[in-house]
Symmetry: C2
Subunit: 271 residues, 2 copies
């Protein structure tokens, strides 16, 4: 793990209130994947929070430090110091920090698919923050704390009205009646960059749906811009009781192939 | 401003995810006010988040540094470093930091009351975090960004179902038909320590109510453990248009007196 410019001052608003944003970017040999999508989401976040967007040159500075192979760059941008309590300073001076860490993708999850479970925690509905990768992530932390079975790769989250949203750190996709679908993210959740890129290239309907949509689905996937696409082969309820299974089929591989092309990942051989 | 032990490492989970809690404690000549209530809330927060509660000795260490007069102690407790992404480490090593700042209360607000407005932002409903003073405070930051008129002291927040919850940094109280009431905080909001202490001493009903409750109220107050109690003399809507006025009356002063006794604050002379 390497990082830039040390830690956070005690009065940084990121540390005090989670008043900031982050991006987690996959680099291959120092080149960022889905960089335009990451920048676009950061622009949206800065606009929503009223934080000045740094110059792309600043954001790209750590790329030169990454070196060869697969590396994950985490960029954290906060509103900086200052303000009076929650009230932001009139002229914020944002603070940018970064970390680089070597990355090894879970190829067995690409190949064999994953088991996931429903989380008990439901995401609060907050349109003002929906879609953004902001630093208020206690819901994700609590949801991820619900299980410690290494055989369960992810947990699915519904909002407080019971609608499917995402997994704790990945977006959710499924095919139902031959149609690709993904939950709408205008009330909560993080709009992943891989999800954005796939929506530009494939016909993926953004829908409102409860967990019953998954039971009816021909295939279910989780994905993000670092891990690629994991087919879901088993879904458990929040007590760990099996609700549904899927056999890996060619239809799983087509969607995965589209995503993995964007990330330079291989399409696993059929098992 | 003085602080303890420097800032936050880059990998601290407080800075990364808002994975922690804080307390803002009023000290008079080095003695904390409502200390038991602050400790009790921190215990509840630690329990809810699964963070080990520090020894009281550690939390009290900065008291010796405070010196005379009114000082605000901010304690920030995070889950520390570690874990894999959102997943918390199995054995977290919490990190405690503190700041001390001289405090001058707004005596004119005690005396003359304040003007407040409704915020547009609505709080997301999240029972798993309700009542806690955790570090995910972007909603408060966004709400406090809705106005910059110095004549408006606070903004009132409703939840996404339209029920009154609190102000951006204070709890909300009113008297209606001779009864003291305050919003329930089991779905969102911060359960202030002054509110807790007042509920132990007075009959204050926790209610579900929309903004119409304020229009019907004989008196409205805002309060917290640092500022004391501000009577509300004018309420505006989110566009700044006046909705209601209240004249300061003896009934305002009784509630204020009870709170100010707890904080060692004077009861302002009638104007």
């Amino acid at each position: 793990m390497r990082d830039g410019q040390g830690g956070w001052p005690l009065d940084d608003r990121g540390a005090a209130y989670g008043d900031g944003l982050f991006e987690t970017v996959l680099l291959r040999d120092g080149s960022p994947l889905l960089w335009d999508e990451h920048l676009a989401r950061l622009v949206r976040g800065c606009h929503a929070l009223g934080i000045p967007m740094p110059a792309e040159r600043e954001l790209a500075a750590p790329l030169a430090e990454a070196g060869p192979g697969l590396v994950v760059l985490k960029l954290i941008l906060t509103r900086g110091s200052g303000g009076r309590g929650y009230r932001p300073p009139a002229s914020p001076e944002p603070r940018l920090r970064w970390q680089l860490a070597t990355f090894v993708p879970a190829e067995n999850r690409w190949r064999e698919g994953v088991r996931v479970r429903h989380c008990r925690l439901r995401l609060g509905i907050q349109p003002a923050l929906a879609g953004l990768k902001h630093l208020n992530r206690l819901e994700n932390v609590l949801a991820r704390s619900e299980w410690d079975d290494e055989g369960v790769a992810e947990g699915l989250l519904c909002d407080s009205d019971g609608r499917l949203v995402e997994a704790t750190a990945m977006n959710l996709f499924w095919q139902r009646d031959g149609r690709l679908e993904t939950p709408r993210l205008d009330r909560c959740g993080v709009a992943g960059t891989l999800r954005e890129a796939l929506r530009e290239r494939l016909s993926i309907a953004e829908v409102e749906a409860g967990p019953e949509a998954l039971i009816a689905a021909e295939a279910v996937w989780l994905g993000n811009s670092v891990q690629g696409i994991w087919p879901v082969v088993r879904l458990d309820d929040a007590d760990g009781v099996e609700r549904q299974r899927w056999s890996l089929a060619p239809l799983h591989r087509g969607f995965q192939a589209e995503a993995h092309r964007l990330l330079g990942y291989p399409l696993p051989d059929p098992t």
